[in-house]
């Protein structure tokens, strides 16, 4: 006679039910109500007592979840308390204090090594002068636009036709204004054509402009052996050494270059099966799938994993591919502050308590999108805390290891290994082969069910051409080298060399007094320039000294924080790094870039103990 009534977990009244089921202690308060009527044999008194007990239990369950401190187990509570204090006092970017906080003692259970990140704020006059500079640029931009509109100056950029003048204007928004008037003036620092392999040194084609960067012409000369501080060549696998590329040439001659089909039609070669097995073994997961393009891996596969009715919690500074994939999927997107676990936890709690916006139903899926290393900041994700949050609130984690695979970790296996965690903790591991493996393409790895689902449902698998076999062979040989399967220790040596180079480079830059963002272990080093005038000056002067750097300005970074981004490589020798550091020292003094207020002296020799005794 027991009723088989479905206990509803959707709907407004079931919020509290969801909380209870989430904490694995569901007592069925509503169930007693429903069932009592059906059974009929209970006395009214028994029923009232059961209702009272149910209500009390409900209250007892709900209140702990409302209080932020009581629910967690001992370690996590302790950690969060300390973490809250640290967040309030030092870690926030707005605070202006270097985040030289060692978390070793208080977070001993979550972080096995110290996690030091720096986001120092420049003195106030720098921000004022930056705005002043942009103001001057804007005023002159309006002047030039006026001259162009009234025919006093030739128009070099796209404008509407005469017949379209009464239509909605196409080029009046700020982005186009900025491109026309500010970007064009220093455009010669970007899109520089290279004519050699982007190893630790490369050759540039020299180009000059006669009309202030509207058009360029090549002089025909090449600038040789420019030190490359901009390519994502973390392990130095972008090389032309014939011995290293032997297997790649063989595969090229065997398969040719084109695959001419998609994965689902006739584009799955034995090379793809081999590389997928190897990637799965490398990462320590059940299965993996590779795609031809890294950007497309994110933007085409997130729509396959989430859809309408799901919730995406994505970091503030996520890459465009993640943002595009999230938007294409049609799920609701909420953004948490960069690497801020408090913000993420608040969003998770709100998501579970309030459910979907109007109907208050439970979300079908909650997925957290983060990156391993953020390429504009150089910061590393706080993976242990995110995993503990995900386990507590039963969300999924999508980790984009584009820059961190091969670059961090004791054997190059990414942030999962860097924090000493198991790859089972992360639901979807994504990465690209462009950065550390010197090839092209991306992968998605995880449980076998996930990858099998993606093989049928991913847009990339259905419509995009699969990876070229020669490129796949390059990835295979790089990965075998990293894992040590080719019989040498070259892979491990490269990873160690990268770590040494990174630490040396960052330490010297800190000592010199530059403001550097990011974690001490990340090979991406952003050096802050702030003022728009210095962006062009810095890049041009570094090229004169035969060093190629990448400078980044407004749309990719906040408007006041333009920077130069260095990518340290395992292929850089100590001499190359010293050349770059000396040039930076000189240029830092000449352009006044050493804004840091917390640096040690740039001449540590002066602190040597000298004898103050008189010589007799």
């Amino acid at each position: 006679m027991e009723p088989s009534k479905q206990i509803s977990l959707t709907g407004r009244r079931s919020q509290k039910r969801r909380l209870k089921s989430a904490s694995d202690n569901y007592r069925g308060y509503m169930a007693t109500d429903h069932n009592a009527g059906e059974r009929g044999a209970e006395s009214g008194k028994l029923r009232r007592w059961k209702l009272l007990r149910g209500r009390t239990l409900l209250w007892v369950h709900v209140v702990p979840i409302m209080l932020p401190t009581a629910v967690c187990n001992g370690h996590l509570h302790h950690h969060h308390q300390k973490q809250n204090n640290l967040l309030k006092s030092g870690i926030c970017k707005k605070n202006g204090i270097t985040k030289g906080m060692k978390n070793g003692v208080s977070n001993g259970t979550l972080y096995k090594k110290t996690f030091i990140e720096h986001f120092e704020q420049a003195p106030m006059y720098v921000a004022v002068l930056t705005f002043l500079g942009f103001g001057v640029g804007t005023v002159f931009g309006y002047l030039r636009d006026f001259m162009r509109a009234w025919g006093l100056e030739k128009r070099n950029i796209a404008t509407e036709r005469e017949e379209q003048k009464d239509f909605v204007p196409l080029y009046q928004d700020f982005e186009n204004f900025y491109t026309r008037n500010l970007y064009m003036r220093i455009r010669d620092n970007w899109n520089r054509p290279i004519c050699s392999v982007p190893g630790p040194q490369f050759d540039l084609m020299e180009r000059v402009t006669d009309d202030y960067n509207w058009t360029f012409r090549f002089t025909g000369r090449t600038i040789k052996n420019v030190i490359n501080m901009g390519s994502y060549n973390y392990l130095g696998f972008a090389e032309t050494d014939v011995n290293a590329l032997k297997t790649v040439t063989i595969e090229l001659q065997k398969y040719g270059t084109g695959v001419c089909s998609t994965r689902q039609e006739m584009g799955t070669l034995d090379k793809h099966v081999e590389i997928e097995k190897l990637v799965a073994k490398f990462l320590g997961v059940e299965d993996a799938m590779v795609f031809g393009m890294g950007f497309a891996t994110n933007s085409m596969n997130i729509p396959a994993l989430v859809g309408k009715g799901c919730l995406i919690l994505s970091d503030e500074l996520n890459h465009t591919s993640l943002v595009l994939g999230a938007r294409l999927s049609g799920a609701t997107i909420r953004i948490f502050k960069h690497n801020n676990m408090q913000s993420l936890e608040n969003l998770l709690r709100d998501a579970i308590i309030y459910g979907q916006p109007r109907s208050h139903r439970a979300w079908r899926k909650i997925i957290i999108l983060v990156e391993g290393i953020y390429s504009m900041e150089g910061s590393i994700v706080r993976l242990p805390e995110i995993v503990s949050l995900k386990k507590k609130y039963k969300a999924y984690l999508y980790l984009d290891e584009a820059h961190s695979i091969g670059a961090v970790g004791a054997t190059g296996r990414g942030v999962v290994e860097y924090f000493g965690m198991s790859p089972d903790d992360v639901d979807v591991l994504m990465g690209t082969f462009t950065k550390s493996f010197g090839a092209a393409g991306g992968y998605l790895a995880g449980k076998k069910e996930l990858v099998d689902f993606l093989r049928t449902h991913s847009h990339s698998a259905v419509y995009a051409t699969s990876m070229c076999p020669a490129v796949a062979e390059q990835i295979i040989r790089a990965m075998k080298c990293l894992m040590g399967l080719d019989g040498t220790t070259q892979g491990l040596q490269r990873v160690r060399q990268l770590g040494r180079n990174t630490r040396y480079f960052r330490r010297r830059l800190h000592e010199m007094g530059f403001i550097i963002y990011g974690n001490d272990d990340s090979p991406v080093v952003p050096l802050l320039l702030y003022m728009p005038g210095k962006i062009g000056a810095f890049a041009r002067r570094m090229l004169e000294k035969n060093i190629g750097v990448v400078v980044v300005g407004f749309p990719a970074t906040p408007i006041t924080e333009s920077r130069a981004r260095f990518c340290v490589s395992a292929a850089h020798t100590r001499e190359m790094l010293d050349t770059v550091l000396n040039a930076l020292d000189e240029l830092g003094d000449f352009l006044r870039l050493k804004y840091s207020r917390y640096s040690k002296s740039s001449h540590p020799e002066l602190y040597e103990e000298t004898s103050h005794e008189l010589e007799d």
């Binding site: 002043l132 001057v136 640029g137 002159f140 500010l182 062009g536 006044r592």
Partner: protein, 80 residues
């Protein structure tokens, strides 16, 4: 040698001014226009300061000395 150092220093100062005001990125004719405007404004500020500041400072000092000292200055000389 000294002249060269001074000239380099002046050039460095001029370069810093160009970088800070973002006139480094402007074309030459725009730079001339910007320099003219800046020099005009600075000249006007200096002239105003030269004309007005000493008078105001003297008046302020007189005002404060009256409050603290309280003795009006006499212009009549004391006759023996």
């Amino acid at each position: 040698m000294d002249i060269k150092r001074v000239k380099d220093y002046i050039y460095w100062l001029y370069y810093q001014y160009l970088l800070i005001t973002c006139s480094y990125v402007l074309e030459p004719w725009e730079q001339s226009m910007f320099h003219t405007i800046t020099v005009t404004v600075v000249a006007m500020v200096v002239y105003t300061a030269y004309v007005f500041v000493p008078i105001h400072v003297r008046l302020a000092l007189e005002f404060f000395s009256q409050i603290f000292g309280g003795q009006p200055e006499s212009t009549v000389s004391i006759m023996n």
